[in-house]
Subunit: 346 residues, 2 copies
């Protein structure tokens, strides 16, 4: 457990600034008196790019390394070509800091609207691989822009990378009451990567005899996400499938306004980074309509990662209680932040 | 419009046999007297593989070429290693016969249970690319089975392949009342393939000024599939995203028992192939529980492809009417087939 937290803050674009402010408010309120919090803000994102053409200069990447953790709001703006900030900033951080565990819990909180009829019980966590698969930026385009163009995308998967995320997922499953782990891939089509994932999944599973395992093709998994989400406990999957499934998971658990995530390097070699799953939502930026809960729940993941389990639980309980008592009247970004800060304080 | 149909039938595995029998029953019942139907069954699938080690020998691939169309039940069995039949038979057919349009309509029929609360109106069609993307079988594995293994999967995309499917999707959108086309990709991460898709989508769009267009990342698309499926009219997307999205679409429109598909080569150079989206469901094979409706709706797509639009509509109307009058009592595979055959006859 850390007795001081030296936090890097990247508010980013759109609603990023607004939700991060509430995340920091709750973090300050929940921290024990004797834990010293220092924050340093980094000006990265669309505005910086427009101003200087830079996405993530080496000096800032280097400076970020020396923090205990990073809190990120949201990156992206329609004024920037698609991919520039994603590849040049967000994914660059995930890859440079070897965030191989992309942790995305999904829980249907009380009194929260789900698009699913019959309100199933939903409480699972997706352990998404964060440093391989089709996200490596490998590939290219030949005769670009001509009728003879060929464009490739290469998914790269290593036993090293797959085993560490699979092992992490078994550990998590083993520590949860239901002890169930589902591998999601598409090994009937992506046979090279898929068979490697499945073989490693089976091999590591021998070390966890108490964990019940299951395999689903990604297409079939989406069916169960809407028809039987209660069947899932821990899911482990590749970078792209994890991206797709966690947005769907957010949708069925009441929306992207509640979905938290951690980009974690469990070795501690580099700082881990915590961010809401949602994007920068430029359409509602500045209106006070953004729900900061996803960021606040990401702060809980951050505290858990730094050893403050009790404070993480305090935030999660506060969110549960807050949602349970919600009466449907509109609350601004700041009002939600204030309410949660008040609940966790003390 | 053809005055004779020389149909290849591949019942395949599990429930394939049962549902195909009902598909043929309805096909026979709906065809005008003066259209001669000839069928030839091909013994392909798990049993054949166990017996002979063959998935799709050259002689049969050659013979299949000479049919007007192919009706396929389902391929796959847990006794066969994952990928063997998929790559060696199903995908081999799609690639050999250049089925570049994988057409998957999604409609929420009356009186059909959806997992979504509030029963949105759903009536869209996914035009999935069928011959490129991560499905080409490109890739490999190095140091297989060792801790130093590297496995790759290469998504190959060509302007040639993308333009023809995008154009087909515009044509379909243009002929529908809402005239709306959504491109789904992930061009903020898969920048090479994604930008090519987007550029071609925009370029071809200039020829269809009446079609309203939209772009969604695949992760965001899954959210809208459950929160606002009514926003979609025609969707065009790559092979893998189309695979994932159409299973999700089937789930929200009342299940995989109703989802039809056509693997179409619009040039007529090779026979097109029609199949339910569902798999071989070995767990219910032989129980009479399989719903043949997806296969019967695939027969409607087959008839439309061969120019018998009126007969296709007759089947679709029969399915609508049949579902509307359904009272919840169990009906066997054969009973559903009989009911639909009776409705379309005359
Ligand atoms: C913005 C994008 C690069 C990112 C991803 O694809 O990982 C986002 O969708 C996410 O899930 O965090
Ligand atoms: C069986 C499998 C190869 C196939 C696919 O991935 O295309 C199936 O899921 C489908 O959607 O038709």
């Amino acid at each position: 457990m850390s007795t001081s937290i030296n936090l890097a803050v990247i508010p980013g674009d759109g609603i990023g600034q607004e939700v991060v402010a509430q995340g920091l408010k709750v973090l300050t309120a929940v921290l024990p008196q004797d834990v010293k919090l220092e924050t340093k803000e980094y000006d990265l994102g669309a505005q910086r790019w427009h101003r200087t053409g830079e996405t993530l200069p080496d000096a800032e990447l280097e400076a970020l390394k020396h923090h205990d953790a990073i809190l990120l709001g949201a990156i992206g703006d329609p004024s920037v070509p698609s991919g520039v900030l994603e590849r040049g900033l967000l994914l660059k951080l995930r890859f440079a800091f070897d965030h191989f565990i992309n942790l995305r819990p999904s829980k249907l909180f009380p009194n929260t609207a789900t698009p699913l009829a019959g309100r199933p019980e939903i409480d699972f966590v997706v352990v998404r691989e964060g440093t391989e698969g089709p996200y490596t930026g490998n590939g290219g385009s030949l005769r670009t822009g001509t009728p003879a163009e060929v464009a490739t995308e290469v998914s790269i998967n290593t036993a090293y990378g797959v085993e560490r995320v699979v092992r992490d997922a078994y550990e998590r499953a083993n520590s949860r009451p239901r002890k169930k782990l589902t591998l999601v891939h598409k090994n009937n089509v992506l046979v090279y990567a898929g068979h490697m994932w499945k073989n490693i999944f089976d091999k590591v599973g021998q070390e966890y005899p108490e964990v019940t395992t299951d395999y689903l093709h990604v297409d079939a998994a989406t069916i169960f996400f809407v028809t039987q989400p209660e069947r899932f406990d821990v899911i482990v999957t590749d970078n792209l499938f994890g991206d797709i499934l966690t947005d769907l998971a957010a949708a069925v658990t009441g929306g992207i306004g509640l979905a938290a995530s951690g980009n974690i390097n469990p070795t501690g070699a580099f700082p881990s980074m915590f961010e809401p799953v949602h994007g920068s939502a430029p359409d509602i930026a500045g209106t006070g309509k953004a729900d900061p809960t996803a960021t606040i729940l990401s702060v809980a993941l951050l505290l858990r990662h730094l050893g403050h389990e009790d404070r993480a639980v305090r935030i999660e309980d506060a969110v549960s209680a807050d949602l349970a008592e919600r009466d449907g009247t509109f609350r601004s970004t700041e009002q939600i932040g204030d309410a949660l800060a008040a609940r966790v304080a003390g």
